[in-house]
Amino acid sequence: MAKRNGNAQGATGGDGLRQELVAHLREQRESLRQMWVQQMTAKGLLAGLSKQEIETESITIYDTCVGCLATGQYESAQVYATNMAERGVLRGMTSEQIIGGLLTLRDVYGRSLAERYQRDLARLSAAFDVYEPVANKILSIVALAFIEEREKVVREQQVAIRELSTPVLQVRDRLLILPIVGIIDSVRARQITEQLLRSIRSARAKVVVIDVTGVPNVDSRVAGHLVQTVDAARLLGARVIVSGIAPEIAQTLVTIGVDLTKMNTVGDLQGGLDEADRLLGYTVVKMDGAATASQG
């Protein structure tokens, strides 16, 4: 994930030059690495890392990069980058820190290379020809590793949120509640419907209360999704009550001309449960002295 450059005299051909560069970088390892760490510290890229970590990581990165230049194989860089991406992302390192650090290493190598070959411009140019592709390759490996790691985390979170967001709860025999919280888009609407249908079948539900108190916006599209969910549930023989449409939302829906007359709507969840009880033939009766009995 960095580049190396080398300076050698008298080497001939790409491979000879490559060996020269590797030898140079290995020779200068301590001074170049120190310079790199200093520059990163100056740029504030090492914030949050301990001295110990900086030592270990910088040595490993430096050696991995020189190794890539020496062998032309990038597996070790790939493995290290993936590994570092996992740790880095978990610990909240920013992309700026990672990419900035590597760009600094690239500059350090480049500067050292330029110094070494300053008297022989043709040779300097040849050395850059060897060094630059390796440096770029390592940079792209690292950048991609980090992007991939981020995307992986985002994907995992999406799945987690989706699973958390649509619980179907059974409150009585044959009565389900589906509280919806958050924005309903078409992907989620589909998932909600599928989950509801599965639950209706497994719980043999006759009535379902869909509570939309937690849905911030109900527009014609969301209403369309709701109607579809209600129709689908009906095909399985369940009746659906929609509860929790707030006054503002009710006004909006009527103003924009959404027709929900086909749907059984109730003001709040309590009303929804009452209506469901009525449909199922339950009556809830308060027992005298029940509260004291349960406390004692």
Partner: protein
């Protein structure tokens, strides 16, 4: 393949087999309409549990079947629509408006009995 129709008291139960064709649906409609008359049925149950798809033609046939049966004086309940099938139907806009549906055969029979009770209660009131 003809759809078998079973008689259970005053109810008729037709179980549609997997892979039923358009012709089968038309034939079923014809048979049912005739049988509703001959056995003086009060209710009809169409069980579509075995179907993994219900396209627009099948939906339309079921809808017209229910309306025709109604004209002959009996109620119709469609039972056993699978969750995936229900989802696909909604996507296609096939919502079977005005037709009673139930989860399975057992529920369908209960629905028919309930309807009959309601009808009797209404007759009693008036």
């Amino acid at each position: 393949m003809r759809v078998p129709i079973l008689k259970q008291g005053t109810y008729l139960i037709a179980t549609v087999q997997a892979g039923a064709t358009d012709t089968d649906f038309l034939k079923l409609r014809e048979d049912l309409l005739a049988m509703v008359g001959t056995i003086r049925a009060r209710g009809v149950i169409i069980d579509v549990t075995a179907l993994d798809v219900l396209d627009s033609f099948a939906s339309r046939s079921l809808k017209s079947l229910a309306q025709m049966v109604k004209l002959r004086g009996a109620d119709t309940v469609i039972v056993g629509i699978q969750p995936e099938v229900a989802f696909a139907m909604i996507q296609l806009g096939l919502t079977l408006p005005g037709i009673a549906t139930a989860l399975d055969l057992e529920e369908g029979l209960l629905t028919l009995r309930e309807r009959e009770r309601e009808r009797k209660a209404r007759a009693h009131d008036s």
